[in-house]
């Protein structure tokens, strides 16, 4: 029964999507009266999607194994939280949740679009067209509601890795909101090309939507790293895995756009480049979806196993080609003729930022897709992993970091080198001093010292800037909004500097030791004494947890006991190891199981200095995104201003 309801919901949503696309396009084509009908179509779309999502959840929560998705991804023993998370743990469900988020964005977007707002109406049409694609793909190639006959009594449950940690319930939804939200800027980009105009209104709206998505995307990427750290147990948070790269790619280009958009709002530069960036960002999200959903990466030969592979590949090619063609045809209409006055200026710094971020994205695309392309063309296998990515990403990242300290100190249009040097000098001195301090303490790792110099420079530059210009709390909304935007950016920069420090220290200064312990044995590692107190076994509904009880002490003082564990999930062949981490203000002690026997354990103990800085810095970045988004909301001018009154000139916070 739930299957039938779910299918009904899906078809209703399809109908609503078709209606939304058609009505939004027609309203934009000078038929403003249809705007009222557009509202109805969007309601149908939202309602149908909600019904389908509800049917999926109800089927999972009521152990209804009569539909394919529950039969393949759910088990009666799965706890409630992971049962809900199962909705996005499998291919079909995750695509349905994907569509649900996208429909949510259509609903939000359409509320801000008036009957004469052609840009907004076209953006609604494009977003709804993307929704239509995903819904069609679900119905045809990845339908979770296909009935199963005979109905099984129980299922295998979700992938063990996905029901092993509570973060799995948080990470995908956040990532989805960020990832899918980038469809809206893309839609605005296409709309701008169609209308042949990407002016003030365009960049303001696109920037706000990108900012919201960027904040969620940052959260999703970081929490994904935290999940890898807490669950996978290989002792890291980022492996340059194709799936991770897929989430990083749109983040890089969206970040580039957020900076390019400022230049456009202030100086009218980079109009068509910004359109390229939003189009590229969306193409990269589709590429990422293709990488993660089609199974193409594990091996080219698993391509046929997934039915959605060809769909997504078609979508990727069509989107890329259509964007490119539309751009080639219309971009010249966007050009304002404004050019960069001097490379040494705020605009120049933004340009450097955009260049490096896009270059980094190109490197990541190349490294991720190279093995696939080589295997497809020559049939031989090559691997591209961390050594390749690090070789390019580390230097480019350091230059970006240093540019982050200089850029905000530069004035617009043109700067005198002497004046720039005077502004940069205190912060640069602080940065070099930070590096010298590290050397004095005995840290000799070159990348760590260089990162400390760059990050110290950025942090000092931000603090100096904050001391120089006092935040203005009064004034018109536009001023306050602009202020919030500036400080949001500075806070995000500070967070990124902290993240850079953490990446360098955890990468360059972490140490690994391996211990072999019999029950009752004590051995030392990283200055601590570890004692193996035996195995504690816990029977949970969905798994059996076998935990090695490790008592940690230092200089005879007991610090407590930690329990890296092996988790055996019912109906699943392999046991999953889960590490255990002791976090303090100065370090993380990371315990991972290599081998667990009843009377002996082999442990890998990794020492990460100042690991918490990574998570704290990421949180600061998200707060920065939040502040900047708040600024956009505060500064928003009334939307239905008559076209004859020019927009109020915005007084910006920056000098």
């Amino acid at each position: 029964m739930t299957g039938v309801i779910g299918m009904t919901g899906l078809f209703t949503a399809l109908l609503g999507a078709v209606g939304t696309v058609a009505l939004a396009a027609l309203t934009a084509a000078h038929r403003p009266r249809l705007r009222a009908h557009l509202r109805v179509a969007v309601h149908v779309l939202v309602l149908g999607t909600l019904v389908a999502l509800a049917a999926l959840l109800v089927a999972l929560l009521t152990d209804d194994f009569s539909i394919r998705y529950t039969a393949e991804n759910h088990a009666r023993a799965t706890p409630m939280l992971y049962t809900i998370a199962t909705a996005w743990a499998g291919l079909e469900g995750s695509l349905l949740v994907w569509s649900g988020v996208l429909v949510g964005f259509v609903g939000l977007l359409v509320r801000q679009v008036g009957r004469h707002d052609r840009l907004g109406l076209l953006a609604v049409a494009v977003t709804a067209a993307v929704t239509l694609f995903f819904l069609t793909m679900i119905v045809v190639a990845a339908n979770p509601f296909v009935p199963v006959d005979p109905v099984p009594a129980d299922g295998p449950g979700p992938n063990p890795l996905l029901q092993n940690h509570v973060l799995m319930a948080v990470h995908p939804p956040l990532l989805y909101v960020g990832y899918i939200g980038l469809t809206v800027p893309f839609a605005f980009g296409i709309a701008a090309l169609m209308l042949g105009h990407a002016g003030r209104d365009w960049v303001a709206r696109t920037r706000t939507w990108t900012l919201v998505s960027w904040t969620f995307l940052t959260a999703g990427v970081v929490i994904g790293g935290l999940w890898a750290y807490e669950v996978l147990g290989w002792g890291g948070y980022w492996a340059w895995d194709p799936v991770e790269n897929a989430s990083l790619l749109p983040w890089l280009t969206a970040t580039a756009f957020l900076h390019g958009a400022i230049v456009q709002e202030r100086r009218g530069l980079l109009r068509s480049w910004n359109v390229i960036l939003v189009l590229l960002t969306f193409v990269l999200t589709i590429l990422g979806t293709f990488i993660t959903r089609s199974g193409v990466i594990a091996s080219v030969h698993s391509f046929t196993q997934s039915e959605v592979g060809p769909w997504l590949l078609t979508m990727l090619v069509v989107t890329a080609l259509a964007s490119l063609a539309l751009y080639a045809w219309r971009a010249h209409e966007l050009d304002t003729g404004v050019r960069l006055d001097r490379p040494l200026s705020r605009e120049g710094a933004y340009l450097v930022n955009n260049l490096l971020l896009t270059f980094l994205a190109a490197i990541v695309v190349l490294g991720t897709m190279y093995p696939v392309l080589v295997e497809a063309v020559t049939g031989t296998q090559v691997s591209v992993g961390r050594p390749f990515f690090d070789r390019f990403a580390v230097p480019v990242g350091l230059v970006l970091l240093a540019a982050m300290g200089v850029g905000p100190l530069l004035p617009y249009r043109t700067a005198r080198p002497r004046e720039v040097w005077r502004r940069v000098r205190p912060a640069a001195t602080a940065g070099v001093a930070a590096g010298a301090l590290l050397l004095v303490v005995g840290v000799r790792h070159p990348w760590v010292v260089l990162t400390a110099v760059a990050a110290g420079f950025v942090l000092a530059s931000i603090v100096g800037d904050a001391a120089r210009r006092r935040p203005r709390i009064r004034g018109p909304r536009s001023v306050r909004g602009s202020q919030l935007g500036w400080w949001g950016g500075q806070v995000a920069h500070g967070g990124l500097a902290l993240v850079a420090i953490a990446i360098a220290t955890t990468g360059g200064l972490s140490k690994t030791e391996t211990l072999d312990l019999e029950v009752g044995d004590t051995a030392g590692a990283h200055g601590y004494d570890l004692r193996f107190d035996g195995i504690r076994e816990r029977d949970e509904p969905n798994r059996i947890v076998r935990e090695a009880v490790i008592a940690i002490s230092r200089d005879g003082r007991e610090l407590g006991s930690w329990g890296p564990s092996l988790n055996e999930f019912r109906n699943q062949p392999a046991a999953i190891g889960t590490p255990s981490v002791r976090t303090t203000m100065t370090e993380d002690l990371y315990l991972a199981l290599r081998d667990l026997q009843p009377d002996r354990v082999t442990l890998e103990i990794i020492h990460f200095p100042f690991m918490w800085v990574l998570w704290a810095g990421s949180a600061v970045m998200m707060i920065g995104g939040g502040i900047a988004t708040a600024g956009r909301v505060v500064a928003r001018t009334p939307r239905r201003a008559s076209p004859t009154t020019p927009a109020a000139e915005v007084v910006h916070a920056d000098a």
């Binding site: 147990g233 260049l355 190279y370 691997s383 961390r386 050594p387």
Partner: protein, 159 residues
């Protein structure tokens, strides 16, 4: 003379500090690294999905890591050890492909792309502004110039 020296003081301090840091980094000798782990990071674990030998906890990876340890103890060079594994598994085992025909594009594309972008940027910057300015008729151009001049004059008159 004295004042000028004093003005230069912050610059000199920064330059001196930078030189000290750079010299310490360059001459202080590379930090001792764990060769076995470093080599493990360059090899792919053959039975895992995109994990290095050093990162993986699979039996194969552990055996390979142990083998690297033996070879290092036997006095093999890094290159010899990597070659040893390439001979067994093929180039695929290297996480960073060697520079050869098959992977030439991988290593050459990034620098080429960077140069290309810089050239494009240079062209964009120096290209004569098309668009608005050119579209103005001579009369409009004159009106615009006089309006700007008027604006400038008023700015100057302001107390």
């Amino acid at each position: 003379m004295r004042d000028r020296l004093r003005a230069l003081l912050p610059d000199l301090a920064l330059v001196a500090l930078t030189m000290v840091v750079a010299a310490t980094l360059l001459l202080g000798g590379a930090p001792e690294t764990d060769r076995v782990t470093d080599l493990g990071h360059q090899l792919r674990c053959p039975v895992c999905q995109s994990e290095s030998v050093a990162d993986s906890r699979s039996d194969t990876a552990l055996a390979m890591q142990a083998r690297i340890g033996e070879l290092v103890d036997d006095g093999w060079s890094d290159e010899q050890i990597l070659d040893h594994f390439v001979a067994r598994y093929g180039d695929w085992i290297l996480l960073s492909p060697p520079l050869e025909l098959r992977s030439a594009a991988l290593w050459l594309l990034p620098p080429v792309a960077l140069v290309g972008v810089l050239l494009a940027l240079q062209r964009w910057r120096t290209r004569a502004p098309s668009g608005l300015d050119d579209d103005l008729s001579a009369a409009d151009q004159r009106r615009l110039s006089s309006a700007i001049a008027e604006l400038r004059r008023r700015e100057e008159d302001r107390p």
